[in-house]
């Protein structure tokens, strides 16, 4: 019985990825390019859903890691790394740095913050808010990285090696390249979520003290998952920089951190796939309605968000997903 329910969940996930892969059949090139960009937001949303939905770690500044990844990638591919590293402009090095830099920052921050016990363990949420605001101000002032104007004409992701060049630039390769990257991230994280370690993650989220009594070192569990999440967010940022070709301080700051929380909350934080879809759906809706409504769009989104928190804490898509799959694996 349990296996059957689990299968139903896998079937839904498979259908979602199949549907996404078929999207270019129904859309123009420009729209395909847009969705490719939203896919990177989707990866970013999954990184937040991993710590928040699974482990109960809320972050009001997750864009810091996305932005660090985007800047690491851009500085590398633009040949702006210091010293002898300058001549290394490979996209692969860019992605490696985009994974490593956010992971190191998250790890160092986590080592300090996970000891905090004031405000019922909400340190991370609040301190990350402060980090986001400070990071945005630093990048605005840092002339070398473009300051307020940001870094322009960031080259596309180059998949070639040994002198060969294959740039992900045309909408269709870009879309499928990003989709494969998103799928890879999804498989990796979903494997973690469904494993024994995933159970421990959810246990820490449900009741940290009791999980500790069962002999788990909850602090290192939190530290590990926070570091992983930051690396994934950085990866999303790197892909975004390669696609968008432009990186500026708002990417690292408060407003994107705010947006990703909304995507994940409305989509559904309890499952990675609903968070991923949440990002894409909200961005599509914003595309369709944003210009029409102006500041009222964000007002409506905030209202929807509050209503969701009160009545549907599993999120709009998450509620549907839980019903369809019979709630298996989705608390």
């Amino acid at each position: 019985m349990k296996a059957l329910l689990k299968d139903r969940r896998s079937a839904v996930d498979l259908a979602v990825w199949g549907g996404l892969a078929a999207l270019p059949l129904f859309m123009g090139a420009w729209q395909v390019g847009q969705i490719a960009q939203y896919l990177t937001y989707g990866i970013f949303a999954m990184s937040l859903a991993l710590i928040w939905g699974q482990c109960g770690l809320l972050s009001f500044g997750h864009a810091v890691f996305f932005g660090l990844g985007a800047y690491a990638m851009s500085l590398t591919t633009l040949g702006m790394l210091p010293g002898w590293l300058e001549s290394w402009t490979s996209s692969y090095l860019g992605v490696a740095l985009a994974l490593a830099v956010p992971a190191v920052v998250a790890n160092v921050l986590g080592r300090f913050l996970f000891y905090g016990r004031g405000l019922q363990g909400a340190q991370l949420a609040i301190v990350m808010l402060a980090v986001a605001v400070v990071a945005e101000r630093i990048m605005t002032r840092w002339g070398y990285a473009g300051g307020m104007n940001g870094l322009m004409s960031v080259p596309p992701v180059n998949l070639g090696a040994f002198g060969l060049v294959y740039e992900l630039y045309d909408p269709l390769p870009l879309f499928y390249g990003t989709l494969i990257a998103a799928l890879a991230v999804y498989i990796l994280l979903e494997a973690l979520v469904r494993s024994r370690r995933g159970v421990v993650l959810r246990a820490v989220g449900a009741d940290e003290a009791r999980t500790g009594f069962l002999g788990h070192d909850t602090r290192s569990v939190k530290l590990a998952v926070f570091t992983l999440s930051a690396a994934v967010a950085g990866f999303a940022g790197a892909l975004f920089a390669g696609q968008f070709g432009f990186v500026s301080p708002p990417l690292i700051g408060f407003s994107l951190s705010t947006e990703v929380l909304i995507w994940v909350a409305l989509g559904g934080r309890r499952a990675l796939i609903t968070a991923f879809l949440g990002a894409i759906v909200v961005r599509l809706a914003e595309n369709a309605l944003g210009d029409l409504l102006g500041p009222a769009w964000l007002l409506g989104l905030g209202l929807l968000f509050v209503l969701c928190m009160i009545f549907l804490p599993r999120g709009l898509l998450g509620e549907v997903y839980a019903r369809v799959t019979g709630g298996a694996g989705v608390r």
């Binding site: 109960g56 809320l58 009001f60 921050l109 080592r111 300090f112 913050l113 000891y115 905090g116 016990r117 004031g118 405000l119 019922q120 909400a122 340190q123 949420a125 609040i126 301190v127 808010l129 402060a130 980090v131 605001v133 400070v134 101000r137 630093i138 002032r141 408060f254 705010t258 929380l261 909350a265 500041p295 009222a296 964000l298 007002l299 989104l301 905030g302 209202l303 968000f305 509050v306 928190m309 009160i310 804490p313």
Partner: protein, 285 residues
């Protein structure tokens, strides 16, 4: 020497306003276990109340009284419509209040536009202090803040209401068994906390540019003050704000505001590591 005195006064000014904001946060957290992310926007509403009334030609003094009342009312409404339904889900209350902050901020943008507004202080005199001149209005702000902070301490530690409120803070269930209406205390404290933020916003409005993003600039130092000072005692935010505010304004005026933010932030993170429940302690397990 003059320079040092001015610096000291500016720092004291900033610290006292942060204390006002942080105190509202801590009271609400202590009583209801709710972290109010919309507190910065309540500050914003206080400032805009003054803007609105002054634009309508009403005197500053009316605005100063109206702001805390109006914002307290908004707090009451927030508690009744949103917080009441979810206060047992800790993370969701943070998110819901943060959603409220978006709503309030966007509402203000819709009504007043994204640009900065200005208000005028009721008096612009410069006072002579040991040979250097200092705006009298800033001294007035310090006076108001000191008065309200002292009043809050008095309310919580010297009155029957305060005794009952502290009983609810110490043990909610036992207090309810003893016949205290915890619902009434929730309402009253949320409204009071909101009113403190509204008052802080109104009193600060004339010396800063009033724009829809200003709330965050006070919310973050207030939160850091609580994390550093401790959330279990009313003295926590006072101590925390003293450390955070003084470091911030001294670093900002000697070097740069950005560096000040970095220093303050680093200090707070290190303080959390050394004092996990704040310097004054969490008060309970």
């Amino acid at each position: 020497m003059d320079q040092a005195l001015l610096l000291l006064l500016d720092a004291a000014n900033y610290v006292l306003v942060i204390v006002l904001v942080a105190m509202g946060l801590v009271i609400v957290f202590g009583l209801m276990r709710v972290i109010n992310m919309a507190h910065g926007e309540l500050f914003l509403l206080g400032a805009y109340t003054l803007v609105m009334l002054q634009q309508a030609g009403v005197s500053y003094w009316v605005g100063l009284v109206a702001a805390p009342l109006l914002v307290g009312g908004v707090g009451l409404l927030m508690e009744e419509l949103v917080i009441r339904h979810i206060y047992h889900r800790f993370l969701d209350t943070i998110l819901a209040t943060w959603g409220l902050s978006i709503i309030i901020k966007q509402g203000v943008i819709l009504l007043f536009g994204p640009g900065a507004q200005s208000t005028t202080a009721p008096f612009t005199a410069q006072l002579d202090l040991l040979g250097s001149s200092y705006p009298a209005y800033r001294l007035f702000i310090m006076g108001v803040a000191l008065f309200v902070v002292a009043g809050t301490f008095y309310l919580f530690f010297r009155t029957r209401f305060g005794l009952a409120a502290r009983a609810v803070i110490a043990n909610r269930d036992t207090a309810a068994c003893l016949g205290l209406s915890t619902r009434a205390f929730d309402r009253a404290t949320f409204a009071y906390g909101a009113a403190l933020a509204g008052l802080a916003g109104a009193v600060m409005a004339p010396i800063m540019s009033v724009d829809p993003q200003m709330g965050l600039g006070f919310l973050i130092p207030a939160f850091l003050s609580i994390l550093v000072g401790g959330a279990g005692h009313l003295g926590g935010p006072v101590l925390g704000a003293g450390l955070i505010g003084a470091t911030d304004s001294v670093t900002a005026s000697l070097w740069s505001p950005v560096l000040a933010q970095v220093v303050v932030f680093t200090m707070a993170v290190i303080a959390i590591r050394i004092f996990p429940t704040g310097i004054l302690g969490g008060g309970r397990k």
